[in-house]
């Protein structure tokens, strides 16, 4: 059965990512060699703060309230952004993470579709896997994978939220702003395999003139196996679920606005 599709979705960003074991022997001087794997497509380089490790675990009583333990500085290695010339694609690399972001740069820009982004991510993971295998004698051992769809839904008055989202339907409440997270555990044969996190957040431009709702859906967990094929399977399953859930939590009026075609 084909997935729901939209001609004009409110999609602003898609992120595909993998987290893996850091190879022993990696140091910051190797970042240049990693960039040389991707420099042709991503000529612009920026330093960014390192991402913390992410692990989805199950069985806790209140996972959304999980507290964070900070125990000093992480390894002295940065995250790097490798940015494409048109700035629409961005590869995030640190020794234990690789993420590919597509982001909408201007109004009317067409979403290149999941298959295109996924093919690119597969190719980039393959390049890094070959590099790690030859330099550190260790292929990528992937322990978490994720996919995020981030939507920006213009909304001048948050009272309207119920007209577009069936997840939240305030009746007479004059909402000033919204910050809400919802979690859903995804199971296969009763065994938890992933978690979808739904994030709703009111956002506005710096001058306060434009308001919108950011709706993010992230599917994250441990792939069945540590290799790239298993990771891409996991991400593909996540994409299917995210698209279905997006339709489930939005209204038919919204589907009309975004021109649903199937």
């Amino acid at each position: 059965m084909s997935l729901p599709s939209f001609d004009n979705p409110p999609l602003e960003e898609v992120v595909l990512g993998a987290q893996f074991s850091s190879p022993e022997g990696f140091n910051s001087t190797h970042n240049g060699q990693v960039w040389s794997l991707f420099g042709q497509e991503f000529p612009i380089v920026q330093d960014q703060p390192r991402l913390e490790p992410q692990f989805e675990v199950f069985g806790g009583q209140s996972p959304q309230q999980g507290i964070r333990l900070d125990f000093g500085p992480p390894p002295l290695r940065n995250r790097l952004w490798f940015v494409s010339n048109d700035q629409s694609h961005l590869l995030q690399f640190q020794d234990d993470r690789l993420l590919l972001n597509w982001r909408k740069r201007k109004e009317g820009e067409q979403y290149p579709r999941y298959e295109t982004i996924s093919d690119k991510f597969s190719e980039y993971l393959g390049r890094l896997d070959s590099f790690y295998s030859s330099k550190y004698q260790m292929p990528l051992r992937i322990n978490q994978a994720e996919i995020s769809y981030i939507n920006i839904i213009p909304m001048e008055n948050y009272r309207e939220i119920g007209e577009l989202l069936s997840l939240v339907r305030p009746s007479s409440v004059e909402l000033e702003g919204i910050n809400a997270n919802f979690g859903e555990v995804i199971r296969r044969d009763t065994k938890p395999v992933a978690r979808i996190t739904y994030e709703l957040q009111s956002v506005s431009t710096v001058d306060g003139r434009k308001r919108a709702l950011r709706l993010s859906l992230t599917y994250r967990g441990k792939p069945l196996l540590e290799n790239i094929d298993s990771t891409l399977d996991f991400i593909s399953n996540g994409r299917d679920l995210i698209v279905k859930r997006f339709c489930d939590i939005t209204t038919s009026k919204a589907h009309g606005l975004w021109r649903r075609t199937s």
Binding site: E13, Q54, F55, I67, R68, F71, G72, N101, Q144, K222
Partner: protein, 156 residues
């Protein structure tokens, strides 16, 4: 980077970098108790151990293992759970342990998503052992039982 949640959502998004939209949220972490600060200090100590700390070839607790252990403690421990001990392994592994209320519970963090969990009941002499990757439901039941046993002892 966005000001997104650290609770598991789209922390890898770079959207705010270019849309101009800013979040309205302030994140406030809640605090578990007095032992939380001690635990953070202990994690710091174990990931900073010098090589040969055990008099042999012991290495510090691996960052990945410590991060995974911290995630576990932050998400699966019941609210009334007693303070755990953190014990380093010479090979960079880590154990989270409780020895109280007639139970010995040990989580041997061999790697992220690679945990051997054991429970020994001192009263019945029964031992349980499970290998856990992501689903810690059984371990949570053990911790609940240990915590409840503590409450009963206090009430008696």
């Amino acid at each position: 980077m966005t000001n997104s949640s650290n609770r598991g959502g789209s922390s890898v998004s770079v959207l705010n970098d270019h849309t101009g939209f800013q979040a309205h949220r302030v994140l406030v972490d809640w605090h578990r108790g007095d032992w939380w600060d001690k635990l953070q200090a202990r994690f710091k100590e174990l990931t900073s151990l010098p090589r040969g700390w055990d008099g042999y070839a012991g290495v510090p607790v691996a960052w990945d293992n410590a991060s995974f252990a911290a995630k576990l403690i932050g998400t699966i421990l019941p609210q009334n759970c007693p303070e755990p001990s953190l014990v380093p392994g010479a090979d960079g592994t880590l154990q989270i342990e409780w020895h109280q209320n007639s139970f010995d519970i040990e989580l041997d963090i061999l790697g992220p998503n690679n945990v051997i969990a054991t429970r020994y009941n001192l009263v019945t002499d029964e031992t349980n052992e499970v290998h856990v990757e992501t689903d810690f439901s059984e371990v949570v039941c053990w911790l609940d039982a240990m915590s409840e046993a503590g409450a009963e002892i206090e009430a008696a």
